[in-house]
């Protein structure tokens, strides 16, 4: 492994970095957010090496870094929504998801055939990519599940000798300012949706409004929300709290979650029996999906009967329909990730307000 300090000769850094990438090597590089790890996104061998380094990905997609929209168009289909976003926000700390043209190694795409694109606001990196003339991966440089890497030490303290040996080149820019990881924006749904972070950093708890035009879109939304919350799922479990009138698509959302988890059984409404449970295995993760319906419930003792608190644990997902019926009786631990979706009907479309706490 070679480490080059940022104050070394710029030309030399670029040359070394491009050589490393051409050789299917792994490159650790600074960005305006955290340190990233780059590999040739189109090379099977390079992605093999990257996945070996990152460790268990549990089906999380990678994303790629390019120089500009024109280069992005080689890899993805940029729709009107995405084009607008590129114009207003890039380069910058955003990852924009579009439909992949499948030029990259298949493991870089998401399971939905989409691909995240990043244009770093870091001229040196853009220049490296430009010279290399191929997209590089833009995932964070920590091994999966480890600390956010703001300095090289963060990375190496938390990886094994074996992992460390896979790194070919490090561009060390010292300690980076503690900026949040990039906000992920999905432009493949009819409303762009922020999958990670918030467009407005000061308003984490205000609801984000989405529109769904069909059951398929509601189901897709569920899958995307799951994909984005895999970390929380694997740590403490997840709760989706659904509110909204009869026949608005709450069970459709639950079906989307089940589909994401690879559950084959038909997901029926649990209104009558209060709760249905399904064991699932997705990649290496095993857990239980609990589908609850509080439609018939409105007393403390019934909520106690369901033992909801005990169901919330690592790798378990709870989807609770008619959540407002039981909200007041439920005390959740601080660490629990609760995603509330309020459904309403407006002009033949579903308006879904999402908030997270």
């Amino acid at each position: 492994m070679q480490i080059l300090k940022l104050n070394s000769n710029r030309e030399e850094i670029i040359k070394a970095a491009v050589a490393c990438l051409k050789n299917d090597g792994l490159l650790i590089y600074p960005t305006e957010t955290v340190y990233g790890i780059g590999a040739n996104a189109c090379s099977h061998k390079a992605i093999d090496k990257l996945l070996k380094y990152k460790g268990r990905r549990q089906g999380k997609p990678l994303s790629i870094a390019v120089t500009d929209q024109k280069m992005a168009e080689r890899y993805v289909e940029i729709n009107q929504q995405a084009a607008k976003f590129y114009k207003n926000f890039l380069p910058g700390p955003f990852t924009v998801i579009s439909k992949s043209k499948n030029l990259v190694d298949s493991r870089v795409n998401s399971e939905f055939g989409t691909l995240g694109i990043r244009i770093p606001d870091y001229p040196l990196i853009v220049e490296i990519i430009k010279t290399f003339n191929q997209a590089i991966t833009s995932t964070s440089a920590n091994a999966s599940g480890q600390k956010r890497p703001y300095k090289i030490q963060d990375i190496f303290e938390h990886c094994s000798t074996k992992q460390k040996a896979l790194i070919d080149l490090v561009i060390d820019a010292g300690e980076l300012p503690k900026n949040e990881p990039s906000v992920v924006i999905d432009t493949t749904l009819s409303t762009p949706i922020a999958l990670r972070g918030s467009l407005d950093q000061n308003h984490h708890h205000t609801g984000q409004i989405l529109w769904s035009k069909s059951a398929n879109e509601t189901s897709a939304l569920a899958s995307r929300l799951m994909l984005n919350h895999l970390n929380q799922l694997q740590k403490n479990g997840l709760i989706f709290a659904l509110n909204g009138p009869l026949g608005i698509g709450k069970t459709v959302f639950a079906k989307g979650v089940a589909k994401f988890l690879g559950i084959q059984e038909i997901i029926n409404s649990p209104s009558y029996s209060y709760m249905n449970e399904y064991a699932y295995q997705r990649a290496q993760t095993k857990g239980t999906f609990y589908h609850l319906d509080a439609w018939k419930i409105d007393s403390q003792s019934e909520v106690e009967l369901l033992n909801i608190q005990q169901l919330i644990k690592k790798n378990n997902v709870l989807v609770i329909e008619w959540f407002q019926q039981i909200e007041q009786y439920l005390t959740l631990e601080q660490k629990t990730t609760l995603i509330t979706l309020d459904f309403a009907e407006s002009k033949q479309k579903r308006k879904i307000v999402i908030s997270e706490s």
Partner: protein, 377 residues
């Protein structure tokens, strides 16, 4: 014959029964419906607490009505699923306790199998006069329509089941209950929807009949629910939701729910190969003229579940079977449970399944007996 003490606590109702083969000696349901109604449609069910309070008195009453002593009981049967896990737990714990106390064998029963076979139950007081009814002419089609289930099950042999189709979202009874609640008919609203429907005109409102475009035997009621909600919201806005409109809506709703069931039932009868689950082709349906419909392997239809008590649904199925007989020359008999109590959740149906299992020596090991909340058939 084997005498069984059966317990069912799969959901809201605590029930115990004593059966002797297919004959029901007692069937006690400590119904919590009265508790529900008191709260006017908003209804704490207090399920577990009520089960625990009710279970022993319910069992004692079942034994008392059957006029049997524990020494005459051959085995204890209990529902292990599907249902609500903590509720199932109460019944299973009690069954284990009794099995140890009285040294009885234990039989685990699938609640759905109970509903499927419930039309075979025989009334104790009439059993001598109606021996002819005990003859079962297989294969049959079990149609379970309730608040929690909507399934079509092919029965080639007792104990051997093949699910042909099921709801992919809401159960039929649930749809009636939920839309009924929007019409302020309390809970469960299904029986009231039936009463109101008689006074209404089904043709007043046209609600969608889903799944007719899907080439399978599954059902779906969520789209219907959405359409009904929108319709009710509109009518309320226009201040038009008066008494007669509510009757008409109830009739239209019932028509849409039952219409879909009948539609799929007809497809099942016309299937060229039911065992393979083959859905009849559209052009094939068009070619059916009198006397040309294929003869199905089904000899009987068994209608079970809470909605099986609905007279309108029974009539619609009978009409379908008459028409089918004209088209194919084959007569199919419709069997329904002999009482309303046997339609909704009850332990007698669990007892009669257990009686059959007893004769096949299908007993559960005490230490392996466990709840199976998502058991299927």
């Amino acid at each position: 014959m084997s005498k069984i003490l059966a317990i069912d606590t799969s959901c809201d109702d605590t029930s115990a029964a004593v059966t002797d083969g297919l004959v029901v000696l007692s069937n006690i349901v400590a119904s919590q419906n009265q508790i529900h109604e008191k709260f006017g449609g908003v209804f704490p069910t207090l399920a577990k607490q009520a089960h625990q309070e009710n279970i022993e008195p319910t069992i004692n009453l079942a034994m008392q009505v059957a006029q049997l002593d524990w020494s005459l009981i051959n085995a204890i049967a209990v529902t292990v699923g599907p249902g609500l896990a903590p509720a199932l737990e109460v019944g299973i714990t009690q069954a284990k306790k009794l099995a140890i106390q009285y040294n009885k064998k234990i039989i685990a029963v699938n609640h759905l199998e109970g509903h499927a076979l419930s039309p075979l139950a025989l009334n104790h007081s009439r059993k001598r006069g109606k021996q002819a009814d005990t003859k079962v002419n297989l294969p049959s089609l079990a149609v379970v329509i309730s608040g929690g289930h909507s399934e079509f099950i092919l029965v080639q042999q007792l104990g051997q089941y093949q699910k042909l189709g099921q709801t992919i979202d809401d159960a039929a009874g649930e749809c009636l209950d939920k839309v009924g609640r929007l019409l302020n008919l309390g809970y469960p609203a299904g029986p009231l929807v039936e009463k109101f429907a008689k006074k209404g005109q089904a043709s007043k409102f046209s609600l969608p009949k889903a799944m007719t475009m899907q080439d399978n035997f599954n059902l779906s009621f969520s789209g219907l629910k959405t359409a009904a909600r929108n319709l009710i919201t509109d009518l309320e806005k226009q201040n038009k939701l008066d008494q007669q409109t509510t009757y008409d809506l109830a009739a239209s709703l019932q028509e849409a729910v039952f219409g879909q069931i009948i539609y799929k039932l007809k497809r099942i009868l016309l299937s060229p190969n039911l065992v393979a689950g083959t859905y009849p082709k559209r052009d094939f349906l068009d070619q059916i003229k009198n006397g040309q419909a294929p003869k199905t392997l089904i000899n009987e239809i068994w209608l079970g579940g809470g909605v099986a008590a609905n007279i309108n649904l029974r009539r619609k199925i009978r009409q379908l079977l008459e028409k089918y007989q004209e088209q194919s020359g084959k007569k199919i008999q419709l069997k329904v449970p002999y009482s309303k109590k046997l339609c909704s959740d009850n332990a007698a149906m669990i007892g009669l399944v257990a009686g059959l299992k007893y004769s096949r020596n299908e007993f559960a090991k005490l230490d392996e007996l466990d709840r199976k909340p998502n058991l299927t058939i």
